[in-house]
């Protein structure tokens, strides 16, 4: 007997579960970035290369989940949140994986070593930014409860509070990034100008990890407020 039963075919695949899965993989990409800098600090080219490969692999996995989810989100689905908002959250999440990949690529291609004066500060900065990603992931993991509550009520308030904390944590990384750039500026003359340029870029990209993580939260807030 065929199974195109009205009740059975009424339920589409839960897109929030895919969104959570995607965010987990994206944050796994970010998770490997501190190790990348640790290896670079010890000038361990092989380790950098190895971690880069792992990040590239994870990023590809994130892309796969993203594409599959987009594929399964036809307009005929009735969703509790705006379809566009959902896809935007997905895009921003994907940017986290992309930035991790860009950082890994750059460190590897230019065989960048970490200047002595930055060594003490870069890794804490990276870790702080990755920490923001984890906060963001924690918020995304709340989707089940949000859904049960219809994106309102206490659960909505709880998630909004978490988003506020997320914003504060991101502010901290902003300050750390500026501090780092100032240090770099002071030592510009001692370095190869091209390296200086790329280090500014790296600091920016590391900050982007936290930036995108924050944006994920802010996009999510839109779905609650509506």
């Amino acid at each position: 007997m065929a199974t195109t039963n009205p009740l059975g075919s009424l339920f589409g695949k839960n897109p929030f579960r895919s969104l959570q899965e995607h965010m987990r993989v994206a944050v796994e990409c970010a998770d490997m970035v501190p190790g990348l800098f640790a290896a670079a600090a010890e000038a361990d080219v092989d380790a950098v290369e190895r971690i880069k490969d792992q990040i590239f692999e994870k990023e590809a996995e994130a892309d796969q989940i993203k594409n599959a989810m987009r594929h399964r989100l036809p307009r005929s689905l009735f969703l509790p949140v705006n379809r566009g908002d959902l896809l935007e959250i997905l895009d921003v999440q994907d940017s986290i994986a992309d930035v991790a990949q860009d950082i890994a690529g750059l460190l590897c291609e230019r065989e960048m070593s970490i200047p002595e004066f930055l060594k003490g500060d870069v890794i804490p900065y990276v870790e702080a930014c990755v920490g923001v990603c984890h906060r963001s992931l924690e918020i995304i993991e709340h989707f089940d409860e949000l859904l049960e509550m219809g994106f309102r009520g206490r659960e909505g308030e709880r998630v909004e509070a978490l988003i506020m904390e997320l914003n504060l944590a991101e502010d901290v990384t902003d300050d750390m990034g500026m501090e780092l750039s100032r240090k770099l500026f002071k030592h510009e003359d001692e370095m190869n100008p091209v390296s200086v340029m790329f280090w500014y870029r790296l600091i920016e990209w590391i900050g982007d990890l936290a930036d995108y993580a924050e944006k994920v939260g802010n996009r999510l807030r839109l779905t609650i407020a509506k």
């Binding site: 075919s9 009735f78 969703l79 859904l147 049960e148 509550m149």
Partner: protein
């Protein structure tokens, strides 16, 4: 008249056979829809669902199935047209059963979501319209039924929406959702028993020679509701919070409290389904039997003979246990998104709507009402993704089923007429 005297036994035999086939089909398809929700959430196993279905479908037919059966038997075609040639009504009812049965077989082989209700109503209208002309159809009743097919899913959806919102207000959006679930759970269960009983008891048991006053109806409904609530309380009283699962999903405990409560909505759905959909199979059969047994009288009042009710019940249970359990398993797997709180809301709303329709003698589609109820829960922003193409398919199946049911039945009508005359 002679024809009936000669072939009377044949007519009853054929009608019983076709009726059994229809109820078998209903059991194989529809019951699985009605109860799949409770199976999907793990509240009951497939085996338990079959046992519940056997008891409550039967109770539904006997206690509350009379009105819809009467509508199918004599509410759609104008019986006064047949006074001079009652055998035509027999051909028509047989043709309707054949047509609806055949169409359902084709549709389920193709996987089209066709409603048994729509098939049989279309078929009955069809033979009357083509075989005897538009005057033979009681159009006001037919339009009322068609309107109810649009209205009933909306009613089911609205009730489900309200129940879901109330669960949020009273239980989920509180300091201690788990304790509140245990506190309010029995009260929700009370309403399952109370609503279904009230609709059934209130001026509804005349055929069993039981006449209750309004007050008595309320009293006994409350008693039944109370008993059911006690059972519900007993089932959930020992539920404990699981801190590990709670970390993963904050409302895990609430859902585990609601899971056993879905046993009651499963019973209610089986009862509601029995009270409405079974009539699709036994309504035409009753018509044939009453004409044959009265020797050609068409307009008389006829009670529902017990053996017909039994046949309906047996057909359902056999259908469910031969094929329905597989459908039920498939559906159960597909609707895991319908957690116990959501499933409870949808089922209670659907069961109440169907029983209300049964009480007023309107044949509705249990499956469509359940789809409406699930959409109602979805409108509270409570379901991850609902595929609205289903609604389109349902409307399409309507548009196709009515004319095809009608056409097939008219065809069989002329064939039968040619055979016996």
């Amino acid at each position: 008249m002679d024809i009936i005297a000669i072939y009377g036994g044949w007519f009853i035999g054929l009608a019983a056979l076709f009726g059994l086939y229809m109820t078998w089909g209903i059991g194989a398809n529809d019951v699985a829809n009605a109860m799949g929700t409770s199976v999907g959430s793990g509240a009951i196993t497939v085996k338990q669902a079959i046992i519940i279905a056997a008891i409550f479908e039967f109770a539904g037919v006997v206690l509350a199935g009379g009105n819809v059966t009467e509508t199918v038997r004599k509410g759609i075609v104008d019986h006064t047209v047949f006074i001079d040639s009652p055998e035509l009504l027999i051909y028509g009812m047989l043709a309707s059963l054949l047509a609806a049965g055949l169409w359902l077989m084709i549709a389920s082989a193709k996987g089209w979501p066709v409603s048994t209700t729509h098939s049989i109503i279309g078929a009955v209208v069809g033979f009357a319209l083509v075989g005897l002309g538009p005057d033979a159809v009681q159009w006001t009743k037919v339009w009322a039924i068609v309107a109810s097919w649009v209205i009933s899913p909306l009613v089911g959806g609205s009730i489900a929406f309200l129940i879901m919102i109330s669960i949020r207000k009273l239980i989920l959006n509180t300091d201690d959702p788990f304790q509140n679930a245990k506190k309010w759970g029995p009260i929700y269960v009370f309403f399952v028993g109370f609503l279904i009983s009230l609709v059934t008891l209130f001026k509804g048991l005349k055929h069993l020679d039981i006449e209750l006053t309004t007050l008595e109806s309320f009293f006994w409904s409350a008693v039944i509701g109370g008993l059911v609530a006690f059972l519900g309380w007993y089932l959930i009283k020992d539920k404990q919070l699981d801190p590990e699962a709670e970390k993963d999903h904050k409302f895990d405990g609430v859902e585990r409290v609601f899971a056993p409560m879905q046993v009651f909505t499963a019973c209610a759905m089986a009862f509601a389904h029995g009270s409405n959909d079974v009539a699709n199979g036994i309504g035409p059969l009753t018509a044939v039997v009453s004409i044959v047994e009265s020797g050609g009288q068409v307009a008389q009042e006829a009670g529902l003979p017990l053996w017909i009710l039994l046949l309906g019940g047996v057909g359902i249970v056999v259908g469910l246990s031969t094929m329905g359990y597989r459908v039920m398993k498939t559906i159960g797997k597909k609707i895991t998104e319908l957690t116990p709180t959501r499933g409870f809301s949808a089922e209670l709303a659907a069961a109440a709507t169907v029983v209300l329709a049964s009480r007023t003698g309107i044949p509705v589609s249990t499956t469509h009402i359940l789809v409406g109820a699930v959409l109602g829960v979805g409108l509270t922003r409570g379901i991850a993704a609902l595929d609205m193409r289903v609604v389109g398919k349902i409307v399409l199946s309507w548009v196709v089923t009515l004319p095809i049911g009608a056409g097939l039945s008219a065809l069989f009508f002329f064939i039968l007429k040619a055979i016996f005359e």
